[in-house]
């Protein structure tokens, strides 16, 4: 079977560890993006991935830094931003984790243990997302 190409990414190359029966990157999102790109905008998917990698690295650092200083608001802002940018490139499980993180820090009383656990999970998943995107890149 011949896979359509877009940027340096191959459909069959975009996969990774599964989370609860779901891949870390959602292939149908990529399909939709490729359709959106059409012939006019061949760099779209590549651009989106690069923009995500560039933006998310800083955001993850912000989260870790904020965790050290117990600045829960900063955690919330970064998680909010990551939630939507990761969903756009199909990193759906990671996006959901960010959403949970955002919800948690917006509670009246933040359970710090739960926060640490969620941040740890987000970091792990983020590495997996990066690895999955980084294939062939």
């Amino acid at each position: 079977m011949h896979s359509p190409t877009f940027g340096p990414y191959q459909f069959d190359a975009v996969h990774g560890p599964e989370v609860g029966g779901e891949t870390i990157l959602d292939l149908s999102t990529f399909g939709a993006l490729q359709e959106l790109a059409g012939d006019d905008d061949p760099d779209l998917v590549n651009d989106l991935v690069q923009l995500f990698l560039g933006d998310s690295a800083g955001r993850m650092e912000e989260i870790e830094e904020a965790q050290k200083n117990e600045e829960v608001d900063s955690v919330g802002r970064a998680a909010h931003a990551l939630k939507s940018s990761s969903a756009n490139i199909g990193a759906l499980p990671f996006s959901r984790t960010c959403a949970e993180l955002e919800r948690l820090v917006r509670c009246e009383e933040v359970d710090m243990d739960e926060l640490d656990a969620l941040i740890a999970r987000a970091l792990t998943m983020y590495t997996e997302v990066k690895d999955a995107l980084g294939q062939d890149a």
């Binding site: 993006l33 959106l36 790109a37 059409g38 006019d40 905008d41 779209l44 651009d47 989106l48 923009l51 995500f52 560039g54 933006d55 802002r77 909010h80 931003a81 939630k83 939507s84 940018s85 969903a87 756009n88 490139i89």
Partner: protein, 689 residues
């Protein structure tokens, strides 16, 4: 210029709503300082609400000050150094500059206008410092606003003024003012004077700018710079030199060259010194240009003098066929001097963006680069003309610059949230009609209510579903189309209104009747007494004039309002008419002033009629809107006799008599003091009757 003497033609320009005027902080300062009890702190506070204005005022306070003075670092310090009135004028002038935009009058070169105005301002400031003729900061303002009358005409009558500019190209500025006068019944010199008076700028500016507009050149027979107008004249030549282009006519080059030579003589310097003085003005101009985002050139005066020398040779041939007043330079479509490109606000005029069928401009604002890139892709697929901004502040700046039809803005952004951006835009004239879509990750009731409150038109939740977003945008496009159409209709209506006002005025002046009282107007009065004067000169039959003025009329207007004032005028006109003989005629000269023309009457006969009028008015009870009673009039009578050499002398005599009647306590008749007529003269009059 006194407020009462503002001509009706100017009021018409004003009623178009398109006159350039200070806005934002400038307007606040204008309002604030029109109250009697504002303090320097109030003004400083208003100025400081605009950081860029604050910076510019401090820059001017320091660049205009004499070397050795300590630098001014606060607005209050600037007010102390320059005086409140001056700081106020500066603030108004700068707010005008910052509100500038390219307008609809295509032949008017807006860029050149502001470049030259700024060069004139800086040049005037330096000349004032050098000569001590005026305060440097006052000279700066006079230079900056010297041609504001032309800007105003271009803004209000864009099409008609454009035609005048094209027709006047290459002709003298005097011819341009004449053409303005013919078309609008007012010229740019008077418009400028009225605008400055309207803003309450001190008289020194109106006087200087009026003189400058009426005579642009410094005449070579004068030895020194004597007024602010002279300073502006020379700085205009320096500025024109800085903006010389390949297409500058040779004749204009020569004029500029002549003025620069005169300047050199007046300043008593040699050519290298003159060049370095002018170059220092150029350098200061470029600095200000960057600050105010006005284009400048890299012209050096050594080049200017070379170009002028070359131009003189060419001009010698052209000279004979033209008159020699400074020519109108508007650069209709000519290649312009290479200007330093500076990024401009509001570069797009309303004419281009008002057309239907043009691509819809969408500005997308999101701090998340991934969402932004994706959003832009979607919009491009729908064939929108897309601009992107990565933060709220950038979004605000681009929205004001690009004037998009639709703004799609993310809710959560760290520097300026979508809602803050929306409220800021809704306060501006540009953003009021924009269609604004909010992208939001949450759909809580409070947020949505708050969003609509701050002026959002619609919202889409994030991550957006492409088809839904498209549908929402299409709804927005329909509304944006309607907005454009409304905007265009509104402009057409305003244009028509301005035209109709001008037409009405022409009809009014053409007719000879005062519409309020139904009496003949000043125009009729003047032609009537002229023919009486001629008839008297031929026949020797005397006539008299009675000038009369309603006493304390201003207090009627002030106390009861203009509507009551109008009724008092009408009532008085009727009372006067009732006291006249058949052959007498009363005309309204204007305001509360009337003139009665009594044919076949010696001055003493006029006095009898005047006394009858006085009584009639005094007994004429008027009831109107709270006013209940009678007014009184003061009357001055003058009759023809051998000692009155001219019609003007006759009118002046009656006017002086009114003045005496007022001084003597009002409500009385004073005669100019003509001698008793001789028996022969009396006989002659009796025989003619």
């Amino acid at each position: 210029m006194e407020r009462s003497s503002i001509p009706v033609q100017f009021e018409e320009l004003k009623s178009s709503g398109n006159l350039p005027s200070p806005t934002g902080v400038g307007m606040r300062i204008l309002e604030l300082t029109q109250t009697d009890d504002y303090s320097a702190e109030d003004m400083a506070e208003a100025i400081m609400s605009d950081p860029s204005l604050t910076g510019r005022i401090l820059q001017l306070a320091n660049s205009a000050s004499v070397a050795g003075n300590e630098a001014v670092t606060t607005v209050s310090g600037a007010i102390m150094r320059l005086g409140g009135a001056t700081v106020r004028s500066i603030a108004l002038a700068f707010s005008l500059v910052s509100e500038r935009e390219a307008g609809a009058c295509r032949p008017f070169d807006y860029e050149r206008y502001w470049s030259l105005s700024l060069a004139r301002a800086v040049g005037a400031q330096e000349l004032a410092k050098r000569t001590g003729v005026s305060k440097p900061e006052e000279a700066y303002i006079a230079g900056l606003l010297a041609e504001v009358g032309m800007l105003a005409l271009a803004s209000v009558h864009s099409t008609r003024y454009g035609q005048i500019l094209i027709a006047s190209q290459g002709k003298s500025l005097g011819a341009l003012r004449q053409a303005e006068q013919d078309e609008f019944d007012i010229d740019h010199a008077t418009v400028a004077e009225c605008m400055l008076a309207e803003w309450g700028l001190p008289d020194v500016f109106g006087v200087a700018i009026g003189e400058f507009c009426r005579r642009r050149r410094f005449e070579p027979d004068r030895a020194e710079i004597a007024s602010v107008a002279d300073i502006v004249r020379f700085s205009d030549s320096i500025g024109s030199a800085l903006l010389l282009g390949e297409t500058t006519p040779a004749r204009r080059l020569t004029e500029i060259g002549d003025q620069l030579e005169i300047l050199r003589d007046v300043l008593d310097v040699d050519e290298p010194q003159a060049i370095s003085f002018c170059d220092s003005i150029g350098a200061e101009w470029r600095k200000w240009g960057e600050e105010l985002e006005i284009e400048t050139t890299d012209t050096r005066f050594s080049q200017v003098f070379v170009a002028i020398a070359a131009g003189r040779e060419r001009a010698a041939e052209e000279e004979r066929q033209q008159n020699s007043e400074p020519a109108v330079e508007i650069d209709v479509d000519a290649a312009k001097a290479k200007r330093r490109r500076i990024h401009r606000r509001n570069a797009q005029g309303p004419a281009q963006s008002g057309e239907l069928g043009q691509r819809i401009k969408v500005l997308a604002v999101d701090d998340d680069p991934v969402s932004l890139r994706l959003l832009a892709r979607h919009l491009q697929n729908e064939h929108f003309d897309v601009t992107m901004a990565r933060s709220g502040k950038e979004g605000l700046k681009k929205a004001l610059q690009e004037k998009p039809d639709i703004l799609i803005v993310d809710h959560e952004m760290p520097d300026l949230s979508g809602l803050e951006l929306t409220s800021a835009l809704r306060r501006s004239s540009v953003g009021a009609s924009m269609y604004i879509l909010l992208l939001t990750g949450s759909e809580s009731e409070e947020l949505i209510v708050e969003a609509f409150d701050s002026g959002v038109d619609d919202f889409v939740s994030k991550p957006f579903m492409p088809r839904l977003l498209s549908a929402r945008i299409k709804a927005g496009v329909r509304i944006a189309h309607l907005q454009r159409k409304i905007e265009r209709d509104r402009k057409t209506i305003l244009d028509q209104l301005a035209d109709r006002n001008a037409l009405n005025r022409k009809l009014r002046t053409a007719s000879l009747t005062d519409p309020l009282t139904g009496l003949p107007n000043r125009r009729h009065a003047m032609s009537r007494i002229e023919s009486e004067w001629k008839a008297t000169a031929r026949s020797g039959i005397p006539f008299s004039v009675i000038m009369l003025d309603i006493d304390k009329f201003k207090s009627v207007n002030d106390t009861y309002g203009h509507d009551v004032g109008d009724e008092v005028l009408q009532g008085t006109a009727n009372a006067v008419k009732s006291a006249l003989r058949g052959e007498d005629e009363v005309c309204r000269l204007g305001g509360e002033e009337f003139l009665v023309i009594c044919r076949s009457a010696f001055e003493k006969d006029g006095v009898v009629i005047a006394e009858r009028i006085r009584e009639a008015v005094e007994q004429n009870e008027i009831q109107s809107g709270g006013f209940d009673g009678a007014v009184t009039v003061s009357l001055g009578v003058a009759g023809t006799h051998e000692g009155v050499p001219s019609l003007m002398a006759l009118l002046k005599a009656s006017d002086e008599a009114v003045y005496q009647a007022k001084n003597a306590g009002r409500n009385q008749v004073v005669a100019s003091g003509a001698p008793e007529p001789s028996p022969e003269e009396r006989d002659k009059l009796r025989r003619s009757a």
